[in-house]
């Protein structure tokens, strides 16, 4: 049997999913954490149970792409039980959707999650009363502690289809809805309602039935003066029904004392205090912890102590027995599996990425990111994005590939394309960021030049993209979750899950890159490719030795940055050259994984376009910065 978890964004569906299945789906304190369907299976009382976790949806009238994904998952036919996950303290916001789910005909169970917060605010609902009124099980849960999970599972496994008592008040029992009613699973009735509200995909679903479609179209225009009139009226009617059902279920509370924003909240939202707070978060979290501890202390120890002192002699001893030079090189040569593949992955990239994901998880779980979205909305509007883009953009500082997937939560195609371009171009991933900060940290001026260049490129390219890409300007709307103290267990678990995902993604590519570079050297292709890149590298004022680092960059962005790390440690680059190289390599092409995700999410045309634009801008800006630094006689 199949359980489908649905509900508004950020009510804890993924946390419940984890409790039910034991599988970790990423859980955060911001709306839009899940953008895809997650499936999990387990056996309970000898029955095979499949659980489906869906992205958040406010209602069936979808606004964003992930809401459409969720709607498809809820409507997908077959035997299923719908588990409507609601926030216990916000029932009046969720119950209208429950009423709509009840008309689908499938069994429904309501999971009142975050019950602990509602209790704390003295707003714990009377679950038994609500269950009696709705005629379906209502179970209180606290997904983070596991409270109520067994009861929820029990209720979901034994739930019966609801009695159809939730059709709308008289004016809505229109000829169209009546005609559509009674058909399989209430799905057509829902489609009729959505088509009356102007939903395009519901209209497409009804059009094959000309009689029904004519009725819907006529009714919409004559009776409701258009789809918008109907949409508002039906939502208002459902809300009234929900409020009537909740009468006496939720204790009366003084609205002034409930869920008040705290002082910290006000500090985070006001630009006067919020922007300095951003600076503190950036400095302590990213510069000090990721750039300092991750990229320097931890990398130095792993690279100089673990690899140089222990792994290298061991590898040399072991590979010494191999009689063929070529194979010895493959394993232990300068581009070999150990020196390039494993060392880059474990000694250079791992500590940086882990440090970043740890900081990011803390920010996510506290609920700070939606506040940052609000704070930066006006600035992002200038580059054709809305405040919502903060979430993929900040995540991009961890891994651009992951972030490109998350751009799906943006509302219009125009915003998604702009965000994809800016991620590929001007947002360094954590490994790049860590390595670059590590290399440049000896010259604060270089860090400033590098950072300013990225900001200027971000704003200029975003501005141009916003001016040339057709489409509606973005708008900003977001429910702000409460600020919550992050839970250590979830932060560690999430960091662990992300680091594992990341490594599964990069390690094969790192090893493949080693093999290809080894084969390239063996066949002379590498010398040829490096030679071909050398003029370009020289053009921006770098020594020929920097060419391989750019070649690595094709495999992984962080791989290129790690190559740069090696160059810096060999003392081959002047500060000015290092700054130029850091700028160019940060702006340079997205890695293979990111390119594949761009192609999957945006299509080949956009992906290739981004690739070409990013390469041109990277070398143009790199050249310009190099020339400026040299002619100003900086530290060259």
């Amino acid at each position: 049997m199949r359980l489908v978890l649905v509900g508004a964004p950020n009510v804890g569906k993924s946390a419940l999913f984890g409790r039910l299945t034991g599988i970790y789906a990423v859980v955060s304190n911001y709306p839009g954490t899940s953008v895809e369907i997650t499936h999990g299976r387990f056996t309970s009382h000898g029955r095979d149970v499949e659980v489906v976790d869906t992205p958040g949806m406010y209602g069936f009238l979808a606004v964003s792409e992930e809401e459409r994904v969720a709607r498809r998952a809820v409507l997908a036919g077959g035997a299923r039980t719908i588990v409507h996950v609601v926030e216990a303290a916000h029932l009046e916001r969720s119950l209208p959707l429950t009423l709509q789910l009840l008309t689908l005909g499938a069994p429904v169970v309501v999971a009142c999650n975050l019950l602990d917060e509602a209790r704390r605010e003295l707003r714990a609902p009377d679950l038994a009363l609500l269950s009696a009124r709705l005629g379906v099980p209502v179970v209180g849960t606290v997904a983070t502690t596991g409270e109520g999970i067994d009861e929820l599972l029990e209720a979901a496994l034994t739930a019966d289809p609801p009695v159809d008592g939730w059709s709308l008040p008289e004016p809505f029992r229109s000829p169209a809805i009546r005609l559509a009613g009674g058909q399989e699973e209430g799905r057509t009735r829902l489609a009729a309602e959505l088509a009356l509200s102007g939903d395009e995909s519901a209209e497409a679903e009804l059009k094959p039935d000309p009689a029904l479609w004519r009725l819907v179209a006529a009714e919409r225009d004559e009776r409701w003066s258009g789809a918008e009139g109907y949409a508002v009226a039906v939502a208002t009617a459902r809300r009234r029904m929900a409020l009537a059902l909740l009468d006496g279920v939720v204790p009366e509370a003084d609205p002034a004392s409930v869920g008040r924003t705290m002082l910290l909240d006000r500090l985070a939202l006001s630009p006067w205090t919020g922007l300095p707070l951003v600076a503190v978060v950036l400095y302590v979290g990213f510069y000090k912890f990721v750039g300092g501890f991750g990229a320097q202390t931890a990398v130095d120890w792993l690279d100089r102590v673990v690899f140089t002192r222990w792994v290298a002699p061991l590898a040399a001893a072991v590979t010494g027995v191999i009689p063929w030079q070529a194979i010895r090189d493959l394993v232990n040569g300068p581009y070999g599996l150990i020196n390039l593949g494993l060392r880059y992955a474990f000694a250079i990239v791992l500590p940086i990425v882990t440090a970043f994901f740890l900081v990011f998880a803390l920010l996510e779980d506290s609920g700070y990111l939606p506040r940052l979205a609000l704070l930066l909305d006006r600035a992002l509007k200038k580059v054709g994005l809305s405040g919502r883009a903060v979430i993929p953009l900040v995540l991009g500082f961890g891994c651009n590939t992951m972030a490109t997937l998350v751009t799906r939560t943006l509302e219009t195609r125009r915003e998604r394309v702009i965000a994809t371009l800016l991620l590929a171009l001007a947002i360094p991933c954590s490994a790049q960021l860590g390595v670059v900060l590590g290399i440049l940290s000896a010259w604060p001026g270089a860090v400033v030049v590098w950072g300013l260049t990225l900001v200027v490129v971000f704003l200029a390219v975003g501005r141009l993209a916003a001016a040339f890409l057709p489409g509606e300007p973005p708008s900003f709307y977001l429910e702000l979750p409460r600020l919550r103290a992050p839970k250590a267990a979830n932060v560690l678990r999430k960091t662990g899950a992300r680091v594992r995902w990341y490594f599964a993604e990069i390690l094969p590519l790192f090893l493949l890159a080693s093999v290809m570079l080894w084969a390239g050297e063996l066949t002379g292709v590498l010398r040829w490719a490096t030679g071909a890149l050398t003029p370009l590298v020289r053009l921006i004022g770098l020594p020929a030795e920097a060419a391989p680092a750019f070649l690595y960059g094709f495999f992984r962005r962080d791989f290129g940055a790690a190559g740069l790390y090696d160059l810096a440690h060999r003392g081959l680059l002047s500060p000015a050259a290092l700054t130029t190289a850091a700028v160019t390599i940060t702006l340079f092409v997205p890695c293979i994984a990111q390119f594949l995700v761009m192609k999957k999410e945006r299509g080949l045309r956009v992906a290739v376009g981004v690739l070409v634009v990013a390469t041109m801008i990277a070398f143009a800006v790199g050249g310009l910065v190099g020339w400026l630094l040299r002619s100003l006689g900086g530290w060259a």
Partner: protein, 98 residues
Amino acid sequence: MKCTMCGAGPSACEGCPIGSNFFVSQRLASLAPGQKATVRRLAAESAADLRKLLALGLLPGVELEVERRWPAMVLRLDCATVALDAALAGAVLVALAA
């Protein structure tokens, strides 16, 4: 121009029988922090904008309080906190609470 709820002109607004008060409302975007109001009508320019307002829970009859209006509007409604930009807030017509 006619009221979308009762179909009558502005003169019928005085003592509106259905509480629509179509003509005696102001835009949400013009409210100051601390002011309380009731949503009267949604005048979104596009279907997409309307859906966003519905997703936030801004429906006729909903009571709200403005917490802040810069850099974006922040409202408390139904014990939740929601944020929206000035353009969207301009599409919400409200009547100030007495």
